[in-house]
């Protein structure tokens, strides 16, 4: 039992992202309301952003701006250790991924508005019912 706790605590960031991702995925699959599904989608994408951000992190490291890069003379100048700075690349990648997820959410919300204007509802089962009615009416014509 204590082994499991150590494993979970040692890598809590990964556990957190998996839990968040599953919450998002659950909402996307199981929720009936389209906006709830969109929220689930956003949680899902955020979980992956969290995963990327956490892989760049190092213990006791600081932001990747090199100290004394220009003003270092004499004994104040020292060698640069990669371990002193967190890895900026995953964070930079996530700036792009955030833009992508915002854009996706924007497009999806615009679609939800269009659907609402058409069907006056955002509940998926009601929309589906309306569609079946339409199809039956068309076949009877």
């Amino acid at each position: 039992m204590s082994d499991i706790i150590t494993i979970v605590v040692a890598k809590y960031n990964y556990w957190l992202y998996i839990i968040l991702m599953m919450i998002g995925l659950y909402a996307m699959i199981a929720k009936n309301n389209l906006v709830k599904k969109l929220v689930g989608m956003n949680i899902f994408q955020t979980a992956i952003i969290l995963f990327y951000v956490s892989i760049g992190y190092k213990k006791d490291a600081t932001i990747p701006i090199i100290e004394n890069a220009h003003g270092g003379h004499g004994n104040t100048a020292h060698a640069i250790h990669a371990a002193d700075y967190i890895n900026p690349l995953p964070h930079v990648l996530m700036l792009t991924a955030i833009v992508v997820s915002v854009a996706t959410l924007g497009v999806a919300l615009a679609l939800a508005v269009k659907i609402y204007q058409r069907y006056q509802t955002l509940e998926e089962d009601e929309i589906r019912m309306r569609l079946t009615e339409n199809r039956l009416a068309e076949n009877n014509k």
Partner: protein
């Protein structure tokens, strides 16, 4: 080798810049958008052609963005495989632009500037996905492609379009996120995102479970995006309810580019040794693609609308290409790569013909097609050629790639796959001859019953739509006749 030419970048930049121009100028003067979009795609097609010539002459071409050397900078790395796919994508989107002009004027004149801008961005994304040599860059361009295709699909049928598009958004996001997660695991283990660089580090990490997870995530992500059965549920509605100018380019290209991404990941990033010797899943994937071929065919039989039928045929064709790539031999892979090109051209021809029919008849449900051979002889000629190619009748290109796939299946001992290919040909024959029968005979007997002696009036689609269909139909046969040259000059040197 490092290249000094700008063509690899120009392929992607030209449509991107013209997209910006179109979205800006649509406020001032809408009519300028069409020629500008045409010019952008013409430049892209010419550049893709020049890149292909260069790759044929000198081998792999690299273009370093802003001069940063890989693996730190992003490079466009173009070898024989993506040079071929680039040319196919650029040429098809150019031809479709010309063919769709009348459609856009008729159906969405008020939104034409927006449409052209989104269309060009979509093509930019596709070309970028094909050209790039960087795993994360591929994700971003993939999302550009997906976002623009969501928008294009929503412009279609006001009843069902937005709903189909939103369902596609949900599933597309899951697919892209899985791919992104896979790339994250690759990055954790290798510290690199450049495909070639990653490939040089991976052999030492073959036993890592993180790499296994990365591989599974990448593959499932790509399979969702390409609609491999049973992950295909978003595709039929999305492609059916999209406006025809958009679905004609999304349907043939989007799935095919995703097959290219899968093959690129298999060949260049993970390597065949890892996939076929370390992992024991190739047989299962071939079974899955066998199921895809049969399920796509059977579901296509149930449709009463050409667009929806074509969408299910695509589900079936995806099974061909995935199965061919996973057979694990050179002939199967050759067939798979050849089928990327052939299937893009023949599905495009089918959708072009369906577009011409829809332009004149309103929609393409089977019951509207009566007498279509007499009314629109040229369109139906193109339709017959596209149908023959999808069935796999010899002089057309569809036969040759199917031939390679069958040979590959026999060599690998995957007889269920071979049987599925042949059954699928039969199903396609039923599908198309059913339409030919409606188009040829049902209207005629109908007319005789009512005592009309004169045949129906010719009502052919406009010339600007017929010429693209004609060119594509010629290519259906031309690519078939020259498939030996393509295999010997391009695909075999690439596979080595």
């Amino acid at each position: 080798m490092m290249t000094n030419t700008v063509y690899p970048a120009l392929v992607v930049i030209a449509p991107l810049l013209t997209a910006l121009f179109c979205s800006g100028f649509s406020w001032v003067e809408k009519r300028i958008c069409y020629p500008v979009a045409g010019a952008g795609l013409l430049v892209a097609t010419y550049s893709a052609f020049r890149v292909l010539l260069e790759v044929l002459a000198e081998g792999t071409v690299q273009y370093r963005m802003a001069g940063w050397a890989p693996p730190f900078g992003i490079e466009f790395r173009i070898d024989l495989l993506n040079a071929l796919v680039l040319l196919v994508v650029a040429a098809i989107s150019l031809v479709n632009l010309v063919a769709s002009h009348r459609f856009v004027i008729r159906d969405m004149d008020d939104r034409s500037g927006t449409f052209y801008a989104i269309y060009l961005l979509f093509v930019t994304g596709l070309l970028g996905v094909v050209a790039t040599g960087d795993l994360f860059n591929l994700y971003v361009l993939l999302e550009i492609t997906s976002l623009t295709s969501y928008a294009q699909i929503a412009m279609g049928d006001p009843d069902r379009g937005p709903l189909a598009s939103l369902n596609y958004v949900f599933i597309g996001v899951i697919g892209a996120s899985f791919y992104l997660l896979g790339v994250g695991y690759i990055y954790i283990k290798t510290g690199s995102l450049n495909m070639v660089d990653v490939a040089s580090i991976l052999p030492a990490l073959q036993d890592s479970s993180a790499i296994l997870i990365a591989f599974i995530f990448c593959m499932i992500g790509v399979w969702i995006k390409m609609a491999l059965f049973p992950l295909h549920i978003w595709l039929p509605n999305a492609y059916t309810y999209a406006p025809l100018p958009a679905s004609r380019v999304i349907a043939p290209l989007m799935t095919k580019v995703m097959v290219y991404v899968m093959i690129r990941l298999m060949l260049t990033v993970f390597g065949l040794d890892y996939i076929f010797e370390k992992l024991d899943i190739a047989k299962a994937v071939v079974w899955l693609s066998t199921a895809a071929i049969l399920a796509g065919g059977v579901m296509a039989l149930a449709q009463r609308d050409i667009k929806k039928m074509a969408a299910y045929i695509i589900v079936s064709e995806i099974g061909y290409m995935v199965g061919g790539a996973w057979l694990g031999n050179k002939i199967g892979m050759t067939g798979s790569i050849l089928h990327i090109m052939n299937d893009a051209v023949m599905t495009f021809a089918l959708f072009l013909a369906a577009g011409n029919l829809a332009f004149k008849l309103g929609d393409v449900r089977f019951k509207n097609l009566e007498n279509s051979f007499a009314k629109m002889p040229w369109t139906m000629t193109g339709f017959v050629l596209a149908g023959f190619s999808i069935i796999g009748v010899p002089p057309t290109c569809g036969f040759f790639s199917k031939w390679y796939l069958v040979l590959g299946g026999i060599e690998a001992g995957a007889y269920h796959f071979v049987a599925a290919l042949i059954i699928s040909s039969l199903i396609c024959a039923v599908l198309f001859f059913r339409i030919f029968e409606i188009g040829f005979f049902s209207g005629e007997s109908h007319g005789r019953d009512h005592g009309h002696s004169a045949g129906p009036e010719m009502a052919e689609a406009p010339v600007s739509m017929l010429i693209p269909l004609g060119i594509t139909s010629i290519f259906l046969i031309g690519l078939g006749l020259y498939s030996g040259v393509i295999v010997n000059r391009i695909i075999h040197p690439f596979l080595g």
